[in-house]
């Protein structure tokens, strides 16, 4: 992995990315805003540290990322634009529009996107395949995937977990965006995933808990531990806040896929800007 840059600056950037995701959603007339807002620090840290750039995106040696919770694609578009894979103005102009290639889920004909997703529960199996190919070909690349906590109800996630451990894929790291909410409410009320870490550990994974998954330094440290862990795959359980960026949305299930009205848009944009200010002044 590459070295992490200035943490304070990147932490502020994460709020610029929230603003970009918000604007993409407004331009396209809809998007999964709640889950978009819990993941910017995770995606930004990954793309700042993975060995992949617009220049190397076709290299067989590149690190790979799969957004298993594919519905939160707007933040991925924002991050890929920030990292130079895409052009933000083009994304905003085209997102969800008639005939557009910028649809509401990741699509692998777009630059920087490895795999199609959107049907939940595929990302871990797909990542196992990528990691296994890396082992077969004696490559040094690493594979990362971001999975929703509601998504953990899909049985296929646990098929992937078993295979990852069985093949000792220490080049694989899954990250759980543990924001505790899904569409119908609190994950524990809808269908409890139980002891997530315990389940992965029992399958043979190295389990790393990040107390604040919206903290770039903590995520980066966890990625280091994962990279150092040999003989088994690692899972990072990141405690995040769904809707982070504005108290209007934070920890509210109703904002899973809600289009802000003009007044709410202004409020959210102002709240995001205030968060960023606080970081820069902190």
């Amino acid at each position: 992995m590459r070295k992490l840059g200035n943490v304070k600056a990147l932490s502020a950037t994460a709020f610029d990315l929230r603003r970009d995701a918000l604007d993409i959603i407004m331009a396209g007339g809809g998007g999964h805003i709640g889950g978009d807002m819990s993941e910017p620090e995770i995606l930004l840290t990954l793309y700042e540290r993975m060995n992949v750039t617009p220049e190397t995106q076709d290299s067989p040696d590149r690190d790979r990322f799969v957004l298993s919770k594919g519905h939160c694609v707007e933040t991925l578009y924002a991050v890929l634009s920030y990292e130079g894979f895409m052009n933000l103005d083009e994304v905003k102009a085209k997102f969800s529009k008639f005939g557009s290639e910028y649809i509401g889920h990741p699509h692998n004909t777009l630059p920087g996107i490895e795999m199609n997703s959107g049907s939940l529960g595929h990302g871990l199996s797909v990542s196992v395949g990528m990691a296994l190919a890396g082992k077969m070909d004696k490559k040094n690349y690493r594979v990362y995937t971001l999975i929703g906590d509601g998504e953990l109800a899909e049985g296929s996630v646990w098929e992937g977990a078993a295979a990852g451990a069985h093949y000792r894929l220490d080049n694989l790291c899954a990250i759980i965006d543990h924001n505790h909410l899904q569409i119908s409410g609190n994950v524990d009320d809808v269908l409890s995933p139980g002891d997530i870490g315990g389940r992965f550990a029992a399958s043979g994974w190295n389990v790393i808990t990040v107390m604040n998954g919206n903290d770039i330094q903590q995520i980066s440290d966890a990625l280091d531990i994962a990279e150092r862990t040999k003989g088994k795959p690692s899972v990072i359980i990141a405690e995040t806040l769904k809707g982070k960026g504005s108290p209007l949305m934070e920890n509210k299930a109703g904002w899973h896929h809600k289009l802000p009205n003009q007044e709410e848009y202004k409020q959210i944009a102002a709240d995001i800007a205030a968060y960023k200010e606080a970081i820069l002044n902190g």
Binding site: K97, F98, G121, A153, I183, S184, V190, L191
Partner: protein, 311 residues
Amino acid sequence: MANKIANRAVMCEVLKEAASTDKSVVVLCSDSRGSASLASFADTYPEQFVEVGIAEQNLVSIAAVLASCGKKAFAVSPASFISTRSYEQCKVDCAYSDTNVKLIGISGGVSYGALGMTHHSAQDIAAMSAIPNMRVYLPSDRFQTRCVFEALLKDNKTAYVRIGRNPVEDVYSEGNVPFTMDKATVLAEGSDILIVACGELVKASKDAAELLKAKGISAGVLDMYCIKPLDSETLLKAAKGVKAVLTVEEHSPFGGLGSMVAQLISANDPKKVISLSLPDEPVITGKSQEVFAHYGMNAEGIANKAQEILG
């Protein structure tokens, strides 16, 4: 005035009515109660509602066993997932095991628009129809949706129903809903061409017949909401004497309404059968109506196609 009530909202109404007197009616969702408009069912009859989380295979298997324990189980999840992710459960636990599960595919066809192919169900008719003992229904509007659900509540066999996400224009009207279960509804009689449609494209087909009439072309229209069992009697009767048959469906060109109609017509009353459908490729990004217009599946497109066929 355009109709504002989606078919899924009517489904919730009918299921709530049934659940109030029949405690064996059970609804199951997979984090889909919001998209299914069933949140008010869950709130009103929590003891008759089962949430399984984002696990569509589990949804269908659990529904099947609840059914075998005497429940009238309605498993409701997006059409794309219930018809492909849970396909084997539909085949083995519902149809093969002959359990009374009603599999309800919501937001069917291309209703999810810009969310892309993961969320579109353009192969559900083919997939579900190919399963022995599985019935397949695609109601055309809110009035017919009510009729189909009321009929399904009365029988004890499995079936798949696809409904769309957004409100659709009415085909029928209050108090004027000709309906016999498993019988196609004749919307217009015609002598030049027969248009056979299902689901959300019935309205456009009916409008197309009006456009054709203005041009002196007599087009019959059948609402074939019952795709399986296909109503062969009404179909062959309506097709008698016309020069060609045009099928219209929100589905892949293979294995859907068009294939089934062609099979029946070629065996019994051979003539040209042309199918208007979605293409055999990921559908263009857009809202349902934009997509239909793009592929010539709106009223004008259907009328043009009919004219082109008649030469």
